[in-house]
Amino acid sequence: MASSSSSPPVLGADANDPATRAATLLEDLPQEIIDKILVRLPSKDIGRFRAVCTSWGSATSTPQFMLEHHRRQPSLPIINGNGRPASLVVLRDTSARASNQHLWPFRPGFKHRSEYRLLGSCDGFLVVCRRSQFRSRFYAFNPVIHKHALLAQPQVGQSFYNTMIGFYRDHPTGEYRVLWVSRSHHSWSHHLCKPGLYILTVGSDRPRYVGFRTTKDLPPSEHIMFLQRLCCSSYYSPPVHHRGSLHWCSYGTSDIIVFDTQAESFRWMQSPTELWPSKLFDMKGMLALWAGSARYYNGFTIMDVWVMRDYEAEIWAFMYRIDLSTVEASRQLYSTSFYKKNKRKFKKKKLLDSPVRLFEDMAVLNNRELLIMYDENKVLRCNIDGKFLGIVNLGKGQYYMWLTQHRLQESIVPIPYHETQEEDEESVFSTGCV
């Protein structure tokens, strides 16, 4: 093991030179090497080590350092434990022994969890919405450094209803942007209501109105329906940002809605399948889609995964299929061998024994494994060949959870936000949790 003595012995003292060389210290290394060492540390260590000395403090606070550190972090799925006791959890390890990290500030015992909903995730920043009876508030926050910012909404007022449908990073400018749909509460009649699409750059205090533009001509009467479908689609599954465009699986129809973030206009793309449910996700930088078939009322038993091979030509390629019967068969084998090894874990054995009846949702764990939500509220882990690898639990005995489609890739970069923000004393971010 590498030694950590406080006064390292000098090499060569016994061998060659009586007039020995002075010991080399960490600070003798050039700054670029010290940076290379520090960038490998987890976020909390870096935060603490800023207090070691001034040069470490400044070296770890440059934008380049923080971005390089972020780049090295893994992208981890966020799971919703629905407060039993864990609420939102970042999944680091699916074994029972690991302590998964509760997403700040949604700690166990968090009271208002039904009011909060995770809406967007991008590069270590998350967006959450709190809807209470008379108003809604939207916050962007960085859960690692415990910083949050209230997001300015379009058309604030009691007759308006704002929905966030996208949160993304605009690559040319580096700005983080929020895409809003603003609707009128009262009526969907096209006489009274104008569809409203707005873009807010995080850090500014006013969203910008964006005209509603599409590549195919939609009559005004269909604008509202389109926006409504877009809101439903976004609620069902957040968009995937790929090649400068946001992509949603259209809820109820078998196509993909695409929003070009530069041209700020919508177009459509053909989905490889007409099956529903289907969700888009990112697979190693490629656009991918899973769709469920052999559908029952509230689930499905076959899941197909497609990936977009050629984006320009919109050509999809079929990747693999997960069949519930395969997973169920391998679960039985696993359960039998588990019982032989662990006779005492009664609760887990009971859960392992219950058959997998229906798939409901899926999230990618890494390039070989998936998380599949089944039977309403349990999650299993399997590989892409359909081999069952275990049930997920979030902490001691917590086996019930839902998948969110959001992921966290840790970052210590502060949120760009306006200094003159009105502080919301009621929000969970301001109370207690530092």
């Binding site: 090499l11 080399t24 003798d28 935060g47 893994p74 590989n383 081999k387 690898l389």
Partner: protein, 247 residues
């Protein structure tokens, strides 16, 4: 105490001029050595290394194996020889070999012969299995910044993941890098000078692992770093970064 050297002074980095300096010196040396090529083989054997591994050259690179090993000259004048196959791991030596400037002794100023021995030992062990492209891919699994910051690789290891380490190099590395701090830093400096990415990664990761989970006071003690914050500045910093100090 040592009165000659300045222990706190940073060693001058020859990084930028290093290549040019080495090339010029090697070219000058090979000009004189060209007349007597046999002398190279008769030069004193390298200092006995603690390990007795021998590099086993792959059969297809016979031309490399046949060429004489390179000779590196440490700061104390001692010569250390390194086989061509092992020398590939150093970007600097690789360029010298490609430019055919590697025939004469290559100076490695500011690297003591003990450290050079260790570095050569590492290269000889890893040399036969070294694949520059695989190494680069392993270092940069993400697409280059800033094209797309979309997350692609997760660190949760698949249950079915088989760690590709057929030659047992990881265990060897772990033993190899169990050094006292001073030697470790000197190895890092040498790897930086000779531009051996894999060894630099190993060294920096080892130091980072030493630091994990510790408090700032412990870091200052272990690495003998002076705290140059005023108490007010330090309190302010701790308050700003309170998120890092809570459990």
């Amino acid at each position: 105490m040592d009165s000659t050297a300045d222990p706190k002074g940073k060693r001058p980095l020859y990084q930028e001029d290093g290549l040019a300096y080495a090339r010029a010196a090697a070219a000058a040396a090979s000009a004189t050595a060209a007349a007597a090529p046999d002398e190279e083989e008769a030069k004193p054997k390298p200092k006995p290394s603690s390990s007795s591994e021998e590099a086993k050259p792959e059969p297809e690179a016979e031309d490399q194996a046949e060429m004489p090993p390179l000779v590196l000259v440490a700061e104390d004048g001692v010569e250390v020889s390194i086989s061509r196959r092992a020398a590939r791991m150093s970007h600097m030596l690789r360029l010298l070999m490609e430019d055919s400037c590697a025939d004469g002794p290559i100076p490695a100023p500011n690297v003591h012969s003990d450290i050079l021995d260790l570095v050569v030992q590492y290269c000889e062990k890893h040399g036969p299995y070294y694949d520059p492209e695989a190494s680069e891919r392993a270092r940069n699994p993400f697409p280059p910044f800033p094209v797309e910051l979309t997350p692609t690789v997760s660190s949760i290891k698949p249950v079915t993941y088989v760690d590709p380490d057929p030659h047992g190099l990881k265990d060897w590395d772990k033993d190899f890098i169990s050094l006292d701090n001073s030697t470790l830093f000197e190895v890092i400096l040498a790897a930086n000078y000779l531009n051996i990415e894999d060894l630099l990664d190993l060294g920096t990761t080892t130091v980072a692992d030493m630091m994990r989970g510790k408090k700032p006071e412990e870091i200052r003690e272990i690495f003998e770093i002076e705290n140059d914050y005023t108490p007010e500045q330090e309190a302010e910093l701790r308050k700003e970064n309170a998120w890092a100090f809570e459990d």
